[in-house]
């Protein structure tokens, strides 16, 4: 498998009146062709900004201040806006959490799909040039293009499971149900066969049954279209259903990466363990939900050492002053913690997750 996306030490900073907010603070990620990578993390840890950085759409007053985003061999940070526009939508597509606010309320759904298609398909593949010359040629070509885009849009809507697509093309987003809107948005994103699909909190706003359907659809997309997926969520369940690998983010940094099995089955980083402990398990007699105490630190005023230190049950003096590096912890596995070896050893002794953990470091 070839590397499709490689993010190296990405920094996204917001320059606000109250100082610099380090929304993304040195992220490293790799995504293989055809792979689905989940990004897990609490609200505000910088997941969306990482995604928007890849799209080149970080909102003002934010800016990419460092790092590289290598996509299919090219550093996206160095591209001009014009070059970037050719990548957006065509090579990398992005879908958002709330389909109601993501579709334009005053434009017909059909228009919103065909717009993307007309934009990115070369004139040739939408419509063979008409034989006629002269005055009518322009209008005729235009009409052909429009009709071809329309057909393609209907086809896309069918593929994502929207019933009677011809009729629904003429409707406005508010006439769609939540799940159908989500599908329409996915149809738009897929309409130009992107190589990478970024989904930001795709399933968060949906109820459980629709969520399952959409995840199912995403899995089909991954298999049928061979699209690589960057799946952002704070729902570990959704990630483990769809993704091959997962990266856990905390306060603008990656703290742990690994296969989904490793992350859910044997997490090394105290934060990942905390997330797992805070998820209720089916079949367990009593729910022992233990939310991680404390809050995400203020990204405008991060502590000097490990940013998880204030909430970490294993924290030592060293963690307070020194930043732990992202260490290799096995094949395709990385952890950002000074004491992950000790933590792993202790876990193996006690067996499994959920046991009371204490760590005698000092």
């Amino acid at each position: 498998m070839a590397e499709l996306l490689k993010i190296k030490d990405l920094q996204v900073h917001f320059f606000t009146d109250y100082g610099v907010v380090k929304a993304v603070d040195g992220i490293d990620l790799t995504l293989q062709e055809g792979e689905a990578l989940g990004i897990l993390g609490e609200s505000g840890c910088g997941k969306s900004m990482t995604a928007l950085a890849v799209m080149g759409l970080v909102p003002f007053p934010g800016r990419i201040t460092g790092g590289e985003i290598i996509f299919a061999g090219r550093d996206l940070c160095r591209l001009t806006e014009k070059e970037m526009r050719r990548i957006r939508g065509k090579e990398i597509a992005m879908i958002f959490q709330d389909p109601l606010t993501t579709l334009n309320p005053v434009l017909k759904v059909g228009e919103q799909i065909t717009e993307a298609i007309r934009l990115h398909h070369e004139e040739g593949d939408l419509s063979p040039a008409s034989g006629r010359r002269g005055f009518f040629r322009f209008w005729e070509d235009r009409r052909r293009r429009e009709m071809a885009a329309w057909k393609k849009a209907v086809e896309m809507m069918e593929k994502v499971g929207i019933p009677s697509p011809e009729l629904r093309m003429e409707e406005y987003p508010h006439q769609f149900s939540g799940g159908m809107r989500q599908r329409a948005m996915i149809a738009i994103a897929l309409s130009c066969n992107p190589r990478l699909l970024i989904a930001d909190e795709l399933t968060t706003a949906l109820d459980v049954t629709i969520q399952a359907q959409i995840l199912d659809l995403m899995r089909r997309i991954k298999e049928d279209f061979r699209t690589s997926i960057l799946f952002i969520s704070h729902d570990l369940g959704a990630i483990s259903e769809l993704c091959d690998r997962a990266a856990v983010m905390y306060a603008g940094k990656i703290v742990e990466t690994g296969s989904v099995q490793e992350i859910t089955g044997a997490p090394f980083h105290p934060y990942t363990q905390g997330i797992l402990a805070s998820i209720p398990r089916l079949g367990e007699k009593e729910y022992r939900i233990k939310p991680i105490p404390g809050n995400v630190p203020d990204l405008g005023d991060l502590p000097a050492g490990c940013s998880f230190f204030p909430r970490c049950p294993y924290g030592q003096a060293k963690c307070k002053t020194e930043l732990p590096p992202l260490e290799e912890a096995g094949e395709g596995r990385q952890v950002r913690c000074f004491y992950w070896r000790q933590i792993r050893a202790q876990r193996e002794e006690e067996g499994g997750i959920g046991g009371e953990l204490s760590f005698a470091g000092d």
């Binding site: 928007l52 799209m55 759409l57 909102p59 526009r85 050719r86 990548i87 957006r88 939508g89 065509k90 597509a93 992005m94 879908i95 958002f96 959490q97 709330d98 606010t101 993501t102 579709l103 334009n104 309320p105 005053v106 434009l107 717009e115 993307a116 934009l119 990115h120 406005y172 508010h174 948005m185 738009i188």
Partner: protein
Amino acid sequence: MTINLTQFINRLLQTIPVVIGVTLIVFSLMHLTPGDPVEIMMGQGSVTEGEIQRIREELGLHLPLPIQYFRFVTGIFKGDLGYSIYYRQPAGEVIFARLPATFELMVVAMIISLAIALPLGLISAVRQYSLVDKIGTIGALLGVSMPGFWLGLLLIMAFSVNWIFPVAGRIDFGMAPQRITGLYLLDSILTFNWPSFWSALRHILLPAITLGMSMTALTMKTIRSSMLEVIREDYITFARAKGLSRSQVVLKHALKNALIPTVTVITLNMGVLLGGNMIVETVFGWPGLGSLVVNAIFNRDYPLVQASVLIYAITFIICNLLADFLYTVLNPRVKF
């Protein structure tokens, strides 16, 4: 957009109490103020008591107030807006003769104001805190707080070089184009009468700018704030994520949404324009409805004031209806 006919008629019926209220208020106000219209009309000393009495009776001014009011209202439904004491003509005729002048002034004021406000509001939203934005904000503040007559006087002082911008009237003497619509600019275009067009244009520019100013500021502020709101929406980011350029997104995706509140504000404020137009027309000697009303008030021409205020009120109500209507047309989420 679906317009439900029953609801539309309902909405029309809702305006009836408003119209009645307006007639009642106009009527009472005029009759509560001191001063006898017939005496003013006749001038001092030249007429006898008996003659005055006769005229009062002719105009029905001797009748009890409720009956006068009743006659006023029933007259309206018969298309009779009363009889102007001062002009000695049916009030309706006097008013409709003046209406094109006012209409023309308002349309030009509107065009000028939109031509300034739309691009400026748009740019200041898209480039928030830029120089354009700052100048626009200050300009809007000035525009809103500057009284119309004052701006009018300033403009007269600054530009009243008579051969460019004349300070009074609609057109140079004897230049009026052949009457088709009563709108000089339009008529002179329709008859290819360019000297008349130029003359009419020179006359209308200063009053139209003055009249449009308050509206410009308001429109600009509305478009800026609704635009600022809209460009933060997810669908704007999504449209950009499709690969559309910034200007395509602004002009197609954002503007269409931002125009919804803006159009409402503009239509509702045509009523404000109508009010400001009394002052502007007086300052610039514009022979329209506004100056007519002001004069009618000074002359205590009761029937004429009543009739014109009624026309004002109806225009206002139509503007409101139009605002509702346009809102539904522009916004697919609501039905009438």
